[in-house]
Symmetry: C2
Subunit: 157 residues, 2 copies
């Protein structure tokens, strides 16, 4: 399959959403994520069902966070995306009578299982607020503040 970029994309989108007062339309988010509005709607659908986001139709509508950042773990988000296949590496699930194949598959499965547990464990320990902190750290490293992103300066009309 093609590489699955939904998780980092959604994280990116949520950071932007947390930074906006008004709802963001799928079109706006698509611009930020360099993709298409339909992809945004499709990807975010799971987060809406999970209660992480709300979507509003009509004029002034769009997407909004339904929780504060510190209430959203990355694991929740991953789950809300449908817990998509983590590995490009796999093994045949068809039950073969060959015991050597079974042993080979079992060894592969054990390693993948442990790796998956590590992955989910880390996602569970990180919240969107941690990402926002990381974002602000990066801002500060450039000598900027949050404000610098929202207006062009005092000379602005």
């Amino acid at each position: 399959m093609r590489q699955d970029n939904r998780l980092p994309r959604v994280l990116h989108a949520l950071l932007h959403l947390s930074d906006m007062k008004d709802p963001a339309t799928s079109e706006q988010l698509a611009g930020m994520l360099n993709t298409n509005a339909a992809v945004v709607r499709r990807t975010m659908a799971g987060l809406r069902e999970q209660g992480i986001l709300t979507s509003i139709k009509g004029h002034g509508g769009g997407w909004q966070l339904a929780k504060t950042l510190d209430q959203i773990t990355l694991a929740e988000i991953y789950e809300a995306l449908g817990a998509p296949t983590l590995f490009a590496l796999g093994y045949s699930n068809e039950s073969s009578p060959c015991l050597m194949e079974k042993a080979a598959n079992a060894a592969t499965a054990r390693a993948l299982q442990k790796a998956s547990e590590t992955f989910i464990g880390i996602l569970s320990s990180v919240t969107m607020a941690d990402l926002a902190d990381d974002f602000e750290k990066r801002l500060a490293e450039l000598g900027l503040t949050q404000d610098d992103l929202h207006h062009t300066g005092p000379q602005d009309s």
Copy 2:
């Protein structure tokens, strides 16, 4: 991309190889792995370069183990396959100026990195001899012995 089954396949093939006196042809291995001889040659090429297998051309030729099973870790094999992409999940590598995207990518990368370390760590701790042991355990559970696989019984000519 499609799922990558090379690792479990090679493990399976090596177990069969360890069980044979004569070299196994690509054709024979392809039969065991339910695939094609060309796929076998292509997949095994890396293991030959890595010194895990030797291949012999001509009459009576084929593939043979170049080491004993306890000298082969799964990590070596994974490396010999070219350390193929482990994850179906990824993130855009294109450097975007957006610090929110950077934060999102970094968080994803950290989780993937740790998962990868877990995976490689386990592969490093397991040898093909461990797989052979597992195979024999499975055999015993069926009330069979190694011998049962190699002849049809005492009445056999």
